[in-house]
């Protein structure tokens, strides 16, 4: 059943790469669906399409080969001509996109990305950054949770993610250059708020994605230095920090590949996930 206030939409962003945005997006989407019984939509706004591959696995190959609808078509507003239909066709309002999992009336759906996404948009006359928000407001009000995985560079896609979201989740790795993306992100959010006064968007929290092996080595002085900087920068921006860190684990890349055999410390992802869902009232 749809939530009374519509879906909670969260964009996962850090204007620094390699902090685990796609992995965290995929795991939160899956966990929201499996253990919180939520109706979930995941959106891949990154042309690298790692979230898409992490949720679709081998099926991503068929998606590309069959040229099925993606985020590109959402922004374009139509499906281009195919062998079957030699004219552009409207994107159906109830386009199902990819159904990763389904149980009764709930599902975990994905609007996947393609590597030519940014290329496709840049080639167009300035795309409207409100397109995604408009599309979601018309077609996905029945969802409980919408998770948007953003690209690490600021572009029109970042603005599109802000327009579609009420919450921001910021993953960070406690390592050298940890907070390099923070001032950029704060500036980017401030600019957006100034230009869109009626839009409420807040940082739900900063989550530490531990880069260090914890079997006797939890990062030592380097992690301590980075953590100090993360805390200071978060406080400066008035961003809350999650109490639970995400443990370092080789299980995460395995899960993203679709190998569920032995998750290792990745099984403790729930400690952060539960705190996250509580923070956004889900």
């Amino acid at each position: 059943m749809a939530r009374a206030g519509g879906p909670v939409t969260v964009c996962v962003i850090n204007l620094k790469g390699g902090v685990g945005k796609s992995t965290i997006s995929a795991l939160l989407a899956r966990r929201g669906y499996t253990t919180r019984d939520l109706d979930v939509l995941a959106i891949d706004l990154d042309p690298q399409a790692n979230l898409s591959q992490g949720l679709m696995h081998n099926e991503y190959k068929s998606f590309l080969g069959e040229q099925r609808p993606s985020i590109v078509e959402v922004f374009n507003g139509y499906i281009p001509p195919t062998i079957a239909a030699s004219t552009p066709t409207p994107l159906p309002p109830n386009a199902t996109f990819e159904i990763v999992a389904q149980a009764g009336t709930r599902s975990l759906q994905l609007i996947p990305s393609r590597f030519d996404f940014s290329d496709n948009l840049l080639g167009a006359v300035r795309p409207d950054p409100k397109t995604l928000a408009r599309y979601l407001s018309l077609n996905f009000q029945h969802k409980d949770l919408i998770i948007i995985d953003c690209a690490p560079t600021e572009s029109i896609l970042t603005t599109a993610a802000y327009h579609a979201s009420g919450n921001v989740l910021v993953p960070v790795k406690p390592e050298y250059f940890a907070t390099i993306g923070f001032p950029l992100l704060q500036q980017s959010l401030d600019n957006f708020r100034n230009q869109n006064r009626g839009h409420h968007i807040s940082v739900a929290g900063v989550v530490v994605n531990n880069a260090f092996y914890d079997g006797g080595n939890n990062g030592g002085p380097e992690k301590a230095r980075a953590m100090k900087e993360i805390r200071a920068e978060s406080k400066k921006n008035d961003w809350p920090m999650y109490t639970n860190e995400i443990y370092h684990s080789r299980g995460f890349p395995k899960i993203m590949r679709g190998d569920y055999s032995y998750p290792g410390n990745a099984q403790y992802f729930f400690t952060f996930a539960d705190e996250f869902f509580r923070s956004i009232d889900l």
């Binding site: 499996t34 696995h57 991503y60 590309l64 990763v100 389904q102 590597f115 590949r257 190998d259 569920y260």
Partner: protein
């Protein structure tokens, strides 16, 4: 009265896992002859053996023997064949994850061939279109193989220059 057959099956499975089917069957035959077992009880043992054999049926055989028909049976057969070839849910961990994604809470599932029986119950509840989607797609074909994915990305990339060329013409 509750049937004791499942308990007997479980005990037999343990024995077969440890000593193998032939050795257990031979031992049972020996026990029967030494204890002067009646023909009716021997027949009972034989029934249990065939029950044990059913446990080891392939996924395809299970579908063939199930009371299914029409499109549902056809689709389930396709899936079962892929399951037997390990092209659909290739490990027991995949089956467990699949069931979790179907909204179930599988516990104590350790053997892939045994798991199909549980999986089948879930698959039979699915609407036809969803079932066909599983049969048609590689959504649950196990861990990503990056080679074919790279090829698909390259093939999609090959299409782009021609499109760009066409745009500039």
């Amino acid at each position: 009265m509750k049937s004791r057959k499942p308990l007997l099956n479980e005990l037999l499975q343990t024995l077969v896992k440890e000593w193998g089917h032939e050795e257990v069957a031979a031992a049972l035959a020996g026990t029967a002859s030494s204890s002067g077992d009646s023909p009716s009880r021997r027949a009972g043992s034989s029934k249990l053996r065939s029950s044990r054999e059913r446990v080891r049926l392939s996924a395809t055989d299970q579908i063939q023997q199930a009371t299914l028909e029409g499109e549902q049976k056809e689709t389930l057969l396709q899936l079962a064949e892929r399951y037997d070839r390990k092209q659909f849910l290739p490990s027991v961990a995949d089956v467990r994850e699949f069931l979790i994604m179907m909204g179930e809470r599988p516990v104590g599932m350790k053997d892939r061939s045994e798991a199909f029986r549980i999986l089948l119950r879930s698959l039979m509840r699915l609407p036809a279109d969803r079932l066909q989607q599983f049969a048609r797609t590689a959504l649950h074909s196990g861990p990503s193989e990056l080679g074919p994915l790279s090829d698909a990305i390259a093939a999609a990339g090959d299409r782009l220059p021609r499109q760009r060329q066409a745009n500039t013409d």
